[in-house]
Symmetry: C2
Subunit: 198 residues, 2 copies
Amino acid sequence: MLAPVPLPKAYRLLNHGPTVLVSSAHCGVRNVMAAAWNMGLNYEPALVSVVIDKATLTRELIEASGKFALNVPSRRTAAQTLAVGRVSGRDVDTTKYADKFAAYGLNTFTGTDPQLPLVEDCVGWLECTLVPEPRNQERYDLFIGEVAAAWADSRVFANGHWTYDADTPEELQTLHYVAGGTFLTVGAAFEIAPTATR
Amino acid sequence: MLAPVPLPKAYRLLNHGPTVLVSSAHCGVRNVMAAAWNMGLNYEPALVSVVIDKATLTRELIEASGKFALNVPSRRTAAQTLAVGRVSGRDVDTTKYADKFAAYGLNTFTGTDPQLPLVEDCVGWLECTLVPEPRNQERYDLFIGEVAAAWADSRVFANGHWTYDADTPEELQTLHYVAGGTFLTVGAAFEIAPTATR
């Protein structure tokens, strides 16, 4: 079900504006957080951007390791997405849980990089190498990554396109954060006929 | 129906990932283009970011005027949103049309800035002052704006939240671009109960 996405099409995993889970690791410490502020930035090389607050453990791990992954969650992990957006990895009770993944019941796997955890039950994944831009990181909390590998769940993404329609199981819909614990999900796709545009 | 949005909440107009229309003007020349690559960047001051390709007339107008507006279109103007994302303002037949707004039948109004056109039949509007970042603009086509004023259609945005539900008219749904002339629209909101997060 997990199929590779060609790098010049990787931006399409973010193009419709889903909230993502940012996963990272360094020297045995792993973490995951939610980020609504993300977007594509370039086709080739495939660049993406994401805002990572200074207070986060994720930021420390990304700056130390030089890499991160963006995971596109679906409704299956909506509660966990909300939770990991609210609680810092620094505040996990490590006497009870190994890390934030374990604390919120998120399972992981790896793609091409054995050091970088990817989150199960998502519908898209982008492994990224940090493109260091110190001024952006310091002034705007803005991080840029070059996509090194990408995958999507072939039940909802095929031939470079999301394939959501009225028959797509609700649990596979991506999450679009409003505020206050509320998400919007995507509805069915609709196409503009070429003749409709002058 | 058009209600002001407090500036620290302006990012919420973009938070769920809609494609926007970027409008701009300078010395009597006006233009509009579509941009799926946009995101919130800060709460206070309210900052947003958007990617504007070097080839665009919009970019020339923004760099000359130091301002732009992000308009959040709905399904009412989906065909126009697609069209203005495909055709450059430089290629409008000015023997027939005054500008790209006229060429694609988009009406405009103004908010606080009499020089900055806003697009009718959208559901959100952000008037922005360019925050010049020459390296970002040149290297990544990345533009940052400080939101000077914002409004939303009170039928779908109230108290700082999008209010989409099963009863929202389809024509007021925001547009989330897939590719190849296909958009996703937002479905109904769903809320995660506080007890669902550990």
